[in-house]
Amino acid sequence: MCEAARSILVVVGVLAGAIAIAAGLIWVERRLLALWQDRLGPNRVGPFGLLQVMADMIKIMTKEDWVPPFADRAVFVLAPAIIVVTALLSFAIIPFAPGIGVVDLNVGLLFFLAMSSLGVYSVAFAGWASGNKYSLLGGLRAAAQMLSYEVFMGLSLMGVVILAGSFNLRTIVEAQEDMWFCIPQFLGLVIFVIAGVAETHRLPFDLPEAETELVAGYHTEYSGMKFGMFFVGEYIGVTLISALVVTLFFGGWNGPVLPPIVWFLLKTSLFICLFILLRATFPRPRFDQLLGFGWKVMLPVSLANLLVTGAVTLARG
């Protein structure tokens, strides 16, 4: 009974935590961007504008939830849910600390990859269902981009799997007690971060929603809470990728003195900030450059990384 209650508590905690962090990120991002771009950012609602999130929520909730008549209603409604659901489901396999985690899946890493590959449908269907040509183009771009980068994402993680000898994230974290995988798998880390940015289609890889060319791409027609879900889904994705980077490459909860869960949250926050820094600094490439970079640079590099890792592991016996 106690076990069941604990499980439920963890699940609820993780869900709430993830959503809360994602929501909080909206404020964090705006503040940080303002800081780096030498402007103010939201600072009126509450101390340091902290309540700005609440204001935005109220606004978004009360907006008219409009579905365009030319849209495919069912798919239009379904699409934003997918991204939030898949991203949240991925949190199930993250080991936050010893004993804290939703499931201990021995194909955990594959589960994450599977979920992220399902996330493609969200943007693709959103773009298609809107019945708008910009949206369609945005959806197409999103599909192509996510499909491409998923490949390297998976490949870049295989180095970690080889070193840890398991798909289980908990085992992977435990395998990093002596050395974080960011050292032997530095290349994998770089690829994974780039692929992660592409997967969440944040700047500089936000071509599916490029405002200047596609009028916000696949979510042009969305409004109200449906738009809010895309918006929040993106921040959940950022959080998820950061958490995974920490888990896979930076030793997860491992760290001296402080309790494991604190270490984990600290590291994750650091990487979230890094994502925001990326957005603040990089320009947006052309779409063909994006795909070309993916297939012509990332794929060979990740394959080489995998090959070398495998060879070294074999050589060491």
Binding site: D72, A74, V75, L78, L105, N106, V107, L110, F111, L113, A114, M115, S117, L118, V120, Y121, A124, F125, G127, W128, A129, G131, L136, G139, L140, A143, A144, M146, L147, E150, G154, F167
Partner: protein, 173 residues
């Protein structure tokens, strides 16, 4: 957990039936994805987590996305719905339906007499699968890679638009 199996089976069958009968290709595709996810769940509860993950990752996540991609590229969907409906007059279902039922009957007939073990519920881990895959089945892996290469080359060649598209051929009298 047995309930999960039966529920997923039901979902898979219903979703698949809907795939076959839909007129909107995107809806059909969505149902197909649901069906595949349900099958993945079946795999999982039957103790095959590795292929369950692959089912989602490759089948639902990659192969079906290709379909979506093509649908979006050709801009199909709602536009062709009425025409699709016209193509599916009820009488067309009779022959295939009978054939399928006969085939299913044959299958059931074969299985009824057999003494098959129940699924044990214990897991066949990814490690076991990998060991067998790169052990006795190594040749199969090589062949599969060759097949993929052939598919790659074939798809590239077919996908190229070399000649300007021909005028649509006249409907034969």
């Amino acid at each position: 957990m047995n309930a999960v199996f039966y529920i997923s089976s039901l979902v898979a069958v219903i979703a698949t039936a809907l795939v076959v009968t839909r007129v909107n290709v995107v809806h059909a595709l969505l149902y197909l994805i649901v069906s595949l996810l349900a099958v993945a769940l079946i795999f999982f509860v039957l103790g095959a987590p590795f292929v369950a993950a692959l089912e989602v990752l490759i089948y639902a996540g990659a192969i079906m996305v290709l379909f979506v991609f093509v649908i979006m590229m050709l801009n199909l969907g709602a536009r062709g719905e009425r025409r699709q409906k016209a193509l599916l007059n009820p009488s067309i279902w009779i022959g295939p339906g009978i054939l399928a039922i006969v085939l299913l009957g044959e299958l059931v007939y074969v299985l009824i007499g057999q003494e098959l073990p129940p699924t044990s519920g214990s897991e066949v881990s990814p490690k076991q699968v990998s060991l067998a895959l790169f052990g006795p089945y190594a040749l199969g892996v090589e062949l599969a890679s060759v097949l993929l290469l052939a598919g790659l080359v074939g798809a590239y060649h077919l996908g190229r638009r070399v000649a300007p598209p021909r005028a649509p051929s006249k409907e034969d009298p």
